[in-house]
Amino acid sequence: MKPGWLLTIAGVAALAWLARGLVLPVFLAMAFAYLLSPAVAWADARAIRRSVAVGALFAVIIAGLLAAGLLLGPRILAEASVLVERLPALATQIDRGLDAALRELAEVAPVLRRVFPEGSGWVHRFVLDRPPWDPSDLFEHAGHLFLLAILVPFFAFFLLRDMPRLITAAMDRLPPQHVETSVAVWRELNGIIGRYVRGVVLDGLVVGALAALGLWALRVPYPLLLGLFAGVANVVPFVGPLLSAAAAGLVVLLTPGQGLAALARVIVLFLAVKVLDDTVIQPFTIGRTVHLHPALLLGSVVVGNHALGVLGMIVAVPVATVLQETARLLLEHRRVLARRRLRSDAGRLRG
């Protein structure tokens, strides 16, 4: 490799390290841009200027968010505040339940009494009785959220507006012998990521709505909040649906008058939603975007979790699919170049 290339790669890596705080906003902005790209493509096909189309789209989204906030916001906030009010009582209930279970277990294995002494109040200790937040921490978290709320739409706007110009500029700098493969890789990846992002969001919306409706029909408290959680958690493969079912099950267990039968109904509901999701919803939303072997799929989620936590689990599947497809196309390109060299060598020998 030429020293110039090495220096460029080192420079880009150093820049990426310095700007690592921008990784999350840029990632979210890309996902947001992919979500909106069909609407912008619709405007493109009608020869409407991108800046006008993207501006109008953002105006519609802001209006939609305001309307949704006015319609659903008060209900979700009310459910959340009731849950927060009931939290100390719920924690006491869970601690009592845990103590009872430990008492029973300690009769079989007395050593547990020393490891987990009775009346420890685990939930109180670890969830409620944490030292109060430093006000500066609160400001820092609020600052991060505010920055995300500004940066994500900002980056998404410019990505959507300027992407064709950036692609044309990049294409003009590509050596001709690499154009077809580069175009192939770019279009393939663009298609995979776009379909995956839009599919996952649509899938989350449908699953969240189904879960909320089912919980409301089963008279489980906080159906909107739990449905919202189910929709968001659905983005995380494997773990998300389990977490949302566990949260709903916990709410049922801690609600007076909702016994084991209610818990069984909630489990059946989440199983039904999962089966419906895998067999009917996902083929329509995500479709055949992901061609990964199930073992590779699970492995990528585990690796993603180790590397970047929840964000890693969310991006693991598209990243693994993209890497697999890129490797396939680049290997094919290498074979083509090798064949070309062989042909030209043979031509020289004949000449």
Binding site: A45, T168, P176, V179, E180, T181, V183, R187, G191, G347
Partner: protein
Amino acid sequence: MQERRLPRWLAWVMDREQARRAPFLARSPLFAGLPRRLLGRLATRFLEKAYHSGEVVFHEGDPARALFVVVEGAVEITQATPRGEHVVRTLGAGDAFGELALIDESPRSGSARVAAPARLLILYKTDFDALMVVEARIAVVVMRNLSRVLATYARRNPVVVTEPAPRPEAADPS
């Protein structure tokens, strides 16, 4: 096909380059007969690239992944012969080449070399396939035009014959 006229007060909304691209594509024999709405959708799938004189767009034998349309400049299609490279035809603005990529990814039957500084529009097969899935009419019109192009090639080169399909194995009488 005429460029769509907008009222003067709305003209600032129009993307002039995109508005020019659809009528330009309509002049190509491959996309003739497509309605304006579909031409607009098709036009958004093309990428554009500038080539210098002498640059090779693709080599004979490379897997075919994209169709090219000449916006400006000139491109020569060549084929290797025992006596060296033979120029089959020279293409100018509005001409398309590499059309067979829209059918399959079999190797290119010739090489394409830029004869005069050119700008080319590139349509990748995957993009075209995705568009065909949602707009069947594009498939019907383009494939009909493509058949005409192939028929013209076949008439010019009557030695081209279709290979007979492999016969099913005769049933074993025993």
